[in-house]
Symmetry: C2
Subunit: 315 residues, 2 copies
Amino acid sequence: MSHASLPCSSPEPTGTPIVDRAATFFQLLQQQICDGLEALDGDAKFRIDNWTRDHAEAEGPILGGHGSTRVMQGGRVFEKAGVAFSYVHGRFTEAYAQQFPGDGLDFVATGVSLVLHPRNPHVPTVHANYRRLSRGSSGWFGGGADLTPHYAYPEDARHFHAVHREACEKHPEIANFAELKKACDAYFWLSHRNEARGVGGIFFDHFMGDTEKTFAFVQDAGRAFLHAYLPIAERRQHTPYTDREREWQLVRRGRYVEFNLVHDRGTIFGLKTGGRIESILMSLPNMVSWVYDHQVEPGSREAELLDIVRNPRDW
Amino acid sequence: MSHASLPCSSPEPTGTPIVDRAATFFQLLQQQICDGLEALDGDAKFRIDNWTRDHAEAEGPILGGHGSTRVMQGGRVFEKAGVAFSYVHGRFTEAYAQQFPGDGLDFVATGVSLVLHPRNPHVPTVHANYRRLSRGSSGWFGGGADLTPHYAYPEDARHFHAVHREACEKHPEIANFAELKKACDAYFWLSHRNEARGVGGIFFDHFMGDTEKTFAFVQDAGRAFLHAYLPIAERRQHTPYTDREREWQLVRRGRYVEFNLVHDRGTIFGLKTGGRIESILMSLPNMVSWVYDHQVEPGSREAELLDIVRNPRDW
């Protein structure tokens, strides 16, 4: 599979506002990622739901926007895979606006977001999101990508981090890989479980420095995604697995749901601003299990994973 | 099955603080409910986890306490049933304390809480909780019970409400059934879905009036639970069901998880105060499904249920 043809420049004329250039990039990235995932899966296709929202039907802070929500369900490799693009504008409530930089209540938000839930417990779940927000006269980028394996494969974690390190190192003025890895571990932390959601990745928010340089970094980080993830999925997709390993995957997916519904700022942003509910919650797995007081055998592969998520490490 | 031997008085000597009398009642109620559910199930038994927490191991606002978490998994009727008693004390943070009546930061909370997830989609999920809280020199009762069917059986909803209406009507100075039903619909509302979690029940909070009269109402409401629920479970447990009905049940359970993790004050109270995580999240079903943009056939039994949860009614 070739990963060579990822978008490398935005086609807008000089003078196009950064938010529109970012939106164009996010749409191209969505298309490329969906193409790459369909090629890997070889079976299921993404269903494409394009949507618009105008002022007349607006409820809550979002006043208008458009997007494309793409979900693949029941594939060979992916039980459920969602890749969404959106561009919305609106007015924050006073209380909610306080957590953002900038001034006033008007906001614009555009981004691409994905969560992939593979069928095989040995293929890791993964999430990535890149976005441009503005509030009043201030604007910033945010995003990242993080890997959530159900079984520990250190070489997978090292590969995923190495690709993202490389993307960061091309932009030393903007991104310090070690800091972004630390921020990722801090953000994807289930405080009520005292464990990380996964093995890390990169995370950043409120990147308000030089716009061109920051946008260049965001583009390289976004383009890194398929390079970081596909080789892992390719080499784990045929690993045989047992019923016990499948059960463990469903239990770990429960932690994923807990994070997304209790802690995740993106999900809460969507729910608070009255976003399209099916797009916001496309991140939730199609099959999940909560087992009371689930325990793992000491020394087992499951215990190995728990040790890793309880003690985040550099890869 | 006899429901006659429910606890009718608290055994403490005169002068026992109300919180301790309430705790004793909640423990007796827990035992009676577990006995009734085991008798119905006839197969699985509740596993009993008694726990204590002392100051040395305290994390977060909870400084100490004890409880008994009882969970039945893999039963004939119940896939997962949790009935928990707890008694904790601690200190709120300034910010979190603001949502409660009373003064200062010290709090005491005791209560019994249950969530039952039956195997058969025609047997409704149900939740109940009765509790006594105090903050500083103020104390109050709260609680309620609500029914979450996956398929509409109006006679079940009518029975559940009739039993609770009767409990309220014995205490006209304390509880107005119509108001408590309305409060239930308002509380168990998934604002991000624009639908109720279920068909209603009763809900109340911050009942700070005459302590003896309020406690008497809470006891009658708690004792009403088995009368309200068991006859429904008994008559639906053998209803045949299809794979499609099972899938619908798992999708509806997804809504249940969304409510508990995004909206429920009790769950958030537990997570914010650093409560015992397995006890707080015992309410989550053992098997859940999120299907992107799930649609029901017009005129189907699934559509009938959706119409009911989108338009709460009096039964």
